[in-house]
């Protein structure tokens, strides 16, 4: 920062005046008010995002006198007399920012977009000084901004290339399936106008705060709440379980619904909600939670699976004896017998901890009453599931509830579950006024779902020829206090624990055990990444024991068309694991040789190469999960796509539109999208289970085809006719003949469409029997990743040097977005492998809970493999979760390759790696 201006503030001037994006502004902040708060709430500068309020994420980065700082750490008073610039201002007039905005879009550098303002502002500061920076300068400049979606590589590329950007429109073209077009919703992400959960409230909204348990297990009683409210200025409502008109109960899987909106007498995890306070914004800004009248009695808690399953352990839920919520089971052949008879066996125990989703946008939203109906605007991955839950909680007719999702600043599974929605709806209904809430980072981390910690035992046997004979897997998953997606994890794990390999004798059990922890739920992969760590690690051990090359061993056992999975499911086509493994072969050989050469001349630092495979079934496991896509043509010729598949950064808005446009036969830019809104857009299902490209994509394809057919039928044109939409008319060119449909001659329907189509798609699956045999998924996606790591054998630090990732996506609808998914998934897998572990009460912030920074993700080469799937739209398969499944085991395998130690617990922190090396070398 420049030198402070000489101004005597000792005589109190209540006004703080500064330049904001070239305009003079004047405010009267509270003492200690953060600049981020003033900019967003007083000055309406909602392009400044708040992710942590602690300087840990950099989302709120602004320039003060040209220097990037975190607005959340800057007292507003300190801005007096200075020049403050934010993304919205820079995007409007700064040439560096404008070039950068194009470059970000052309490179796919913004996914969910919540970190983009911070990234771009920090990058502008760099580019002003250094127009053509090096890779290292970019990393140093952006090291203070966390991104959870992209894996950073495309951000680095975008900044490096920003000085030579081309015009925008040429980057889209017709956008047909297979084209790497820029995101269709990208412009708002790079100019600061995108509206997330905390950006949509009206100025008069009341503010809600949740009162939460400070203990993992506690009894509690309230004081006189009515009296407290009456005596506390500005409080408009206090809500507890007594104020729920419907059922105080929710859960994503109806048969397991067990979670109260507000705990009743007993809190079962640290951070569980017991009450909510609703008040005027100015009052709530300085509200101290400690003044709320509640008395706590801490009770004995069980926080690990061994404790929760011990005799006499406190029981969390009646009817779930020994804290066992449920279990999943798959069996084929006779694993025990096969392991007895196998030539060679390996066995291991593996352990993983809680992993936090750590999206940069904390849960946030807004609710209001419009014409007697309640409208909830919040970040969500599943708007119709939110509606289903609110119907029960509010005890209201669902037609009186409207869910209008905001943009979502990252989800990764956790925003499938309810968070702020019931509190907002209850408060709006109670007060009749608009109400908003934004979770603090600590609240978000304490109260929302996590990846399940796991304790896995696995034994695998093979014959001398390298063919796997038997596989016995048993995993306990710490499912926390409530069900959430625990049943899904315990079902998915036994189906997937084999990996994409042929295993004739197989037994897998997964148990979900309750503990006094935040609910474990959905997190990219639903337990499969944990299982893959065990399976892929032991595959390396087995290959080594057999003396077979590790990649060859996988190829030898890989599934193929017409070979049964462990569920007895036989795919006649579309099995792509061999293609993925084969694609890694050249790099495997080159990198192994390079690592050997490196190791020959380096004593302390050792390089290793690891590989791992993976698969993932797209869509719900043996359960219906239809998507519906509506489209139509307006009398003026506008083509409208009701795109209800939530885009949480992965790119559904673009991919679904590309598929629809291809089916209809027009360029993507001619399509107007209407997003998720339970009043006007049909249910495209939840954004989970890697299902949107596959399932909603199919619905979009069918909708596009049906709309096209309706138009062609009108003029009896043939299937190959070309459609051109003009103002008020459609031109149909069918070979030599040409037709013109005058849309004004047609009578529009109640939604103002003259043509419309609504189509659904549900994957064909079959139920699993008692032994887990059946057809759980209509398609799997396949993958294999290779990583080179460097291990500092004296300090135990592990540095990934390079990834090569081969992913069979059937057909890449948008290759750039495929790469974005792969890079982002690898970054999350890298975090899980090396640094991430959530410990309730201890790592409830983003400086103790570490996720990878821009300096931690090495170059990633994505090899897109296209083994088409007969069920997928244009052959496409799902991808979202596959991308991180092989990453952690590949890293662990590379560590073993480098320094000879097998890490069986993640994260492989420097201390754990060093301890393992010392064990191997007798203390040296």
């Amino acid at each position: 920062m420049g030198q402070p201006l000489p101004m005597d503030k000792q005589v109190l001037n209540p006004m703080t005046e500064f330049l904001l994006n070239s305009q003079s502004v004047s405010v009267t902040p509270r003492v200690g008010e953060r600049l981020s708060q003033t900019l967003r709430e007083t000055l309406g500068q909602r392009d400044v995002k708040v992710g942590c309020d602690a300087g840990d994420c950099g989302a709120c980065t602004v320039l003060i006198d040209g220097a990037p700082v975190c607005a959340c750490l800057t007292p507003t008073h300190q801005a007096d007399g200075r020049n403050v610039e934010t993304l919205a201002g820079l995007a409007g007039h700064d040439p560096d920012a404008q070039r950068l905005a194009e470059s970000f879009q052309n490179h796919g550098a913004a996914q969910c977009g919540i970190c983009t303002p911070g990234m771009m502002v920090a990058a502008v500061a760099l580019l002003r000084q250094t127009p053509t920076p090096t890779d290292g300068q970019v990393k140093d400049a952006l090291g203070g901004v966390l991104c959870r979606c992209t894996g950073y590589r495309k951000i680095i590329d975008a900044v490096l290339a920003s000085h030579a950007q081309i015009a925008a429109e040429s980057a889209v073209g017709d956008g047909a399936v297979g084209a790497s077009i820029r995101r269709l919703d990208g412009a708002a992400k790079v100019n600061g106008t995108e509206m997330y959960g905390d950006d949509v409230a009206t100025g008069d909204a009341l503010v809600l705060r949740v009162i939460r348990s400070p203990f993992a297990h506690a009894g509690f009683t309230f004081g006189d709440l009515q009296q407290w409210q009456a005596q506390t200025d500005g409080i408009e409502a206090v809500l507890t379980c007594a104020d729920i008109p419907g059922k105080n109960l929710f859960g994503v899987i109806p048969d397991f619904a067990d979670q109260p909106v507000f705990a009743e007498g007993t809190a079962r995890f640290r951070g569980e909600a017991v009450a909510a306070v609703v008040g005027r914004a100015d009052v709530m800004q300085v509200f101290e939670v400690s003044t709320f009248p509640v008395d706590w009695t801490e009770l004995p808690s069980v926080e690990t699976v061994p404790h929760a399953t011990a005799p006499l352990a406190p029981q969390l839920h009646p009817g779930r004896d020994n804290n066992l919520m449920c279990s999943g089971f798959v069996q084929q052949g006779d694993a025990a017998q096969a392991l007895t008879e196998a030539d060679v066996c390996v066995e291991g125990r593996f352990q993983t901890g809680f992993v936090e989703h750590a999206y940069i946008e904390p849960e946030a939203g807004f609710a209001q009453i419009i014409d007697g109906r309640v409208e909830v605007h919040a970040c969500t991955q599943a708007p119709v599931m939110d509606l289903d839950a609110l119907e029960i909680i509010l005890g209201m007719d669902r037609k009186d509830i409207r869910i209008l999702p905001t943009e979502v600043g990252g989800g990764f599974g956790s925003k499938l579950d309810l968070s702020v929605q019931p509190y907002l709806a209850l408060a709006a209904l109670r007060t009749g006024k608009p109400v908003r809430i934004t979770y603090s980072r600590a609240e978000s981390m304490q109260s929302t779902t996590k990846r399940h910690p796991s304790n896995i035992h696995l034994k695998i046997g093979a014959n001398r020829d390298g063919r796997i004979q038997g596989f016995d897997f048993s995993g306990d998953f710490n499912t926390g206090a409530y069900a959430s997606w625990g049943p899904t994890v315990s079902n998915r794990v036994p189906v997937h624990a084999s990996g994409p390999y042929r295993i004739p004798n197989y037994r897998a059990v997964a148990r979900a055990i309750h503990t006094h922890n935040p609910p474990s739920g959905a997190f990219r992969g639903f337990g499969v990444p944990q299982a893959a760590i065990a399976q892929e690690s032991l595959f390396d051990e087995l290959a080594d024991k057999l003396g077979i090359d590790r990649l060859q061993f996988r190829l030898l056992n890989a599934l193929e068309d017409n070979i049964p999975t462990v569920c007895g499911q036989m795919f006649e086509q579309g099995v792509g694991i061999k293609a993925c493994l084969n694609a890694l072969q050249p790099d495997w050989e080159v990198e192994r040789a390079a690592a050997a050469a490196f190791n020959a001349t380096n004593k302390t630092h050792k390089r290793g190469v690891g590989i791992a495979g993976g698969w993932y079934g797209c869509g719900n496991t043996s359960l219906p999960n239809p998507s519906t896509i509506k489209s139509g043509v307006r009398p003026d010729g506008t083509v409208v796509l009701h795109q209800g598949a939530m885009d949480i950064g992965q790119g559904a808005n673009t991919v679904i539109t590309q598929i629809f446009a291809t089916a209809l036969g027009i360029p993507v830019l001619q399509i107007q999208r209407i997003g998720a809104d339970t009043d006007v857009t049909p249910d495209a299902g939840k954004t989970s289970a890697s299902r949107q490209t596959y399932v909603s994509g199919n619905a979009a394809r069918l909708s596009g085809l049906a709309l096209r057919a309706a138009i062609l039928k009108r003029v009896n044109a043939s299937d190959g006719a070309k459609l051109t939409f003009g103002t008020g008319a459609i031109r149909v060119i069918d070979g030599a003949s040409e037709h013109r449909i005058d849309l004004s001659s047609l009578s529009p329907d109640s939604e103002d469409y003259v043509f419309r189509a609504q189509e659904s798609y549900d994957p064909p699956t079959k139920p699993l029997d008692a032994n887990g045999q059946g057809s759980p998924y209509a398609q799997f996606g396949y993958c294999a990743q290779l990583v080179v790591v460097e291990v500092d054998s004296l300090l135990g630090t592990v540095t990934p040097i390079r990834f090569v990732a081969a992913h069979d996506v059937g057909k890449a609808i948008n290759p750039m977005l495929v790469e974005g998914q792969v890079e982002g998934g690898i970054a999350q897998g890298l975090g899980m492998a090396l640094m991430e572990e959530y410990i309730p009460g201890r790592t409830e912030n983003l400086h103790d809970y570490l996720i990878p920074t821009i300096g931690d993700v090495p170059p990633i080469e994505t090899l897109i493999i296209e083994v088409p799937d007969a069920h997928g739209p244009y052959g496409a398969k799902g991808l979202g979760e596959h991308v991180l499944i092989p990453t952690a085991p590949a890293i662990l395998n590379a560590i073993k390759d480098a320094v000879g130690v097998r890490l069986t617990q993640v994260p492989a922190t420097p201390a754990r790696v060093r301890a393992a090396i010392k064990d191997l070398t007798d203390g040296n």
Binding site: M1, P29, G143, H847, G855
Partner: protein, 289 residues
């Protein structure tokens, strides 16, 4: 309750004598500690006080104003013996934190993992404290008495960090170890200032270790044993590390910390004496020393 931003030291001192105020400079530790709880006191912003920012050379050495940002320190043109301090400046949090966070704020926050402490200790830095009776000074390692504890009196302000001249041949280095590259709190860190005579033997040695004791510690016994050794051949014994008392926490266990610190000392000495200008050191990107 008010926000004060005086421009003179006297005005600031008068304020803290009369008002219950908390001191704020960059805000990078104040706000995270505060969380969502509203401020209980007025705030005294020291960043506009005349003479409290910037680096100035005098007969007694270098004077770094208390409210000087880490960015200003990192980008200053300083002699080789400041290479460790400048490397530390570049590892404080992120560019955003370095632009706002100040050297005295880092010291007064009194974290066992304060990045500034080990290099300042090896530079023999003193803290200048000014109160109603004028300035007093004491070594940084004396000023910080424990986690979140310092000798700063209720009516006093830290006004400068004073670094006495060091022999011209001294070089320095800083090693920081963490689980990721940026925005990371050290597992352990080491700073050294080393001088070698014409034959290449060490004739000046200061070594300090952070994140391994309540307050970063200088290893005087090791320093004495280093004299006369060739930098490439130094070894660190458990006795040398006896002043350290690392804890076991989420970042690492105590045994690992001791071992890592020993290795970092050796690497820092190599780095300092190789004579190369030091770039940023990050946890996961250390290279062979």
């Amino acid at each position: 309750m008010a926000y004060f931003a005086p421009t003179t030291l006297n005005a600031a001192l008068a304020l803290i004598a009369s008002e219950p105020v908390s001191i704020i400079s960059g805000g990078t530790d104040v706000f995270p500690a505060q969380g969502q709880i509203p401020m209980q006191n007025g705030l005294l912003d020291v960043t506009r006080i005349d003479g409290l920012t910037g680096l100035h050379w005098g007969p007694e050495g270098l004077r770094i104003g208390a409210a000087t940002s880490w960015s200003a320190i990192a980008s200053a043109d300083l002699p080789d013996c400041f290479a460790g301090l400048q490397a530390a400046a570049r590892t404080v949090g992120s560019v955003q934190i370095q632009n706002a966070g100040t050297i005295a704020g880092n010291i007064c926050n009194a974290s066992p993992a304060a990045d500034g402490m080990p290099p300042l200790i090896t530079l023999g830095a003193e803290v200048e404290i000014t109160g109603p009776d004028g300035p007093r000074r004491m070594p940084v390692e004396t000023f910080v008495t424990g986690p979140r504890q310092t000798q700063l009196g209720a009516r006093e302000l830290v006004t400068a960090i004073l670094i006495p001249p060091l022999p011209a041949h001294c070089r320095a280095a800083f090693e920081k170890l963490g689980s990721r590259t940026y925005l990371v709190i050290s597992i352990t860190m080491v700073a050294v200032v080393i001088g070698c005579d014409a034959s290449g033997r060490i004739d000046f040695a200061r070594v300090a270790v952070g994140s391994c004791s309540p307050v970063a510690r200088r290893l005087i016994g090791l320093e004495a044993d280093l004299i006369g050794q060739m930098p490439q051949q130094v070894t660190v014994s458990p006795d040398h590390l006896a002043p350290l008392a690392p804890i076991t926490d989420i970042r690492a266990d105590s045994g690992y910390r001791l071992e890592a610190a020993a290795e970092q000392i050796v690497r820092a000495i190599h780095r300092a004496t190789h004579g190369a200008t030091q770039g940023p050191t990050h946890g996961a990107t250390l290279t062979d020393g």
